[in-house]
Symmetry: C2
Subunit: 357 residues, 2 copies
DNA sequence: TAGAGCCTGGACAACGTTGTCATCAGCGAG
DNA sequence: CTCGCTGATGACAACGTTGTCCAGGCTCTA
């Protein structure tokens, strides 16, 4: 007997059978509530959404039916009908990076203030994965997207943006499309940080940063070069090292520039991951080496010496971007803009060490 | 003229009008693709989903139409039809807390391996907000929920769980319902940490922890008491302080137990937030005070002295929980279980300081 | 050459909600 | 007493997709 019955009441497309009190795995719908309350479908909808035009008595009956059945509105259907999902997507590089914690919290808070949920994913610095994620989020019909780009070509988002997906890029600019961008002043911050070292007497200063294809890394390198040039110092190639922030590579890079014929007396590190590794390297050295790092790190003040950093305000980045996103959705925005937030030099000791001879 | 035409081709329920190349804000649907490709609706569906039974030639025509129109499947409709959303929800306390970074990354990775997206929200340690979030996620029909509970009564989730929402609690147990729980061995970890201090000669040991209504805080306090009792030490009330982990309160608590008639010679801190604040307090003291903290913290090895901690594996917590969630969805699971992961004592110096007299 | 069987493709309903519109009862005014 | 109005209520279609099922054309074989 391949077919038990010619026609089942409901298609049994949901396989899970749990020891439920009532229907197996099938949730009650407004139709069920309506039947139980003895009212029409639309009346239930009105009650659920707090729309006016329902007698207190009717409302009570509906509420009772909702309670009794454990009804919960199916937002998928609602979204399908209304066109807006009240959710935004956040794509970042790595949820576990302490820099992104405050940023995503800020994004979440602004979203929450607008009644939206946050869906997020990590690109792991892989452009393909970024695209895959972004498009998956668009297929879910998120209302907007906050993207910390891994790739440098975002034309794939053009149809989505045209279709109304509000999009803001954070921390790094969008590639090959015109879109809202919220950045830190990476160039200025790095230049100031390096200038600080120069002001304390250093001339041979090393730079260790992330892969040069990452915009922030490139900008910070540019800031380093600018500060050196402003001071009339010519930079040796061996003083600069860009690449993955994997501790092993960073360690080797640091050790290389600290030895050799022209060893650096100070190091400028391009992000928090690099800074942490370099602190470990410097801790193992007999002579003190000055250090300024981009990005603040927790407990930086308690190390000996305290670590001087160029701090950026990750929360402000996230907040600014997300507020802008919702203004795009409001329609109270003119055109794409590039917003640059200032950085702040926090002196704690490591940047004020004199060059040791 | 209030009405421009008796019947518009499409209801203009979407207000946004962008300078789109084609239809304003209206995305193409499979119907549009079908029309353009000169095929039936279902054929488009087949191509989009890679189902068999389509001639290469037809498939090519459909693909071209998809490209040309910039079509992207509307997953809301798909979800409505299929009943599964391929997304899971994560509710934690605070996205910005470094402890939750690795945890949520692990959750995301497992979700990704199962083709699911991650929606997350922060409860800010507020039970009402936790419930609001959880139910909002259920309304979105997430397939499952990973919850780091803020509240201690989760009966509100019963109808959802019955309806098939896979649910796993992490870091703290569920309240008043029977559900999967993945925890660290908070009791054992704290006991070992305190025993370590005792082994190094301490008798007057302080405990500073989070609010006692939080399960982890209570368990760690219990571990502290157990270790003290095992060593035959009777604990003075003034040695223990539980409450919010706000730096101001923690600072006062630490200062109080470090002065007075019976000052402690060592402190056990109940979580990473507390540890960081106490390190700052201790750094300002003339005499050394031993410290062991629950939770590992970055750079703990570089402080003077290094901070001895009871480390828990946040990533393993998230991974274990999420894998279990998907096994619930597979149906390859018997019943709710309580899984306890071990902690690890990492000695770095601060816990090995002798009592200073 | 005809029949059987297979493969491709399309018509149609259904998922659960919301917007539109019609209906109906009750009521006040003329 | 009746007309028209108001406010509550429900019937119905639509959102965009997928599952079911049937039709038509093709190939293969007897």
């Amino acid at each position: 007997m391949p077919e038990p019955a010619p026609r089942a009441d409901r298609p049994a497309d949901r396989l899970r059978d749990r020891p439920s009190g009532t229907r197996y795995g099938n949730r009650p719908t407004m139709k069920d509530v309506a039947a139980r309350a003895g009212v029409g479908l639309k009346t239930v909808s009105r009650v659920v959404n707090g729309e006016p035009g329902v007698t207190p008595d009717t409302e009570r009956r509906v509420q009772e039916a909702i309670e009794a059945l454990g009804f919960r509105r199916n937002d998928s259907a609602r979204v399908l009908r209304k066109g807006r999902t009240a959710s935004i997507g956040l794509i970042l590089e790595d949820l576990a990076d302490p820099f992104y914690g405050p940023l995503s919290r800020a994004v979440e808070e602004v979203a929450r203030a607008h009644g939206a949920l946050l869906i997020n994913g990590s690109s792991a610095e892989d452009p393909d994965r970024e695209q895959e994620l972004a498009l998956a989020l668009c297929a879910r019909r998120v209302d907007g997207l906050v993207v910390i780009p891994a790739g440098d070509d975002h034309r794939y988002l053009e149809p989505e943006i045209r279709a109304g997906v509000a999009t803001v890029f954070v921390d790094r600019p969008a590639g090959r499309i015109d879109a809202d961008v919220v950045l830190s002043d990476n160039f200025g911050g790095a230049r100031d940080g390096v200038a600080h070292l120069i002001a304390h007497g250093h001339r041979r200063i090393g730079f260790i940063g992330d892969m040069p294809r990452i915009h922030t890394a490139a900008e910070r390198l540019r800031g380093y070069r600018a500060a050196m040039e402003d001071a009339g110092i010519s930079v040796a190639d061996s003083w600069m090292s860009l690449g993955v922030t994997d501790p092993e590579r960073v360690r080797r890079a640091a050790e290389a520039m600290l030895t050799g014929p022209e060893p650096v007396t100070a190091v400028f590190t391009g992000n928090n991951r690099v800074t942490v590794t370099v602190i470990r390297v410097l801790a193992g050295l007999p002579r003190p080496v000055a250090l300024v790092g981009f990005d603040d790190i927790e407990l930086a003040d308690l190390l000996q010496p305290g670590v001087t950093v160029v701090a950026q305000d990750a929360a402000a980045l996230g907040r600014t971007a997300t507020e802008r996103l919702f203004r795009q959705l409001d329609g109270t925005l003119l055109g794409p803009e590039r917003i640059e937030l200032p950085t702040r030099l926090v002196t704690r000791g490591s940047g004020e060490l004199p060059p040791s001879v």
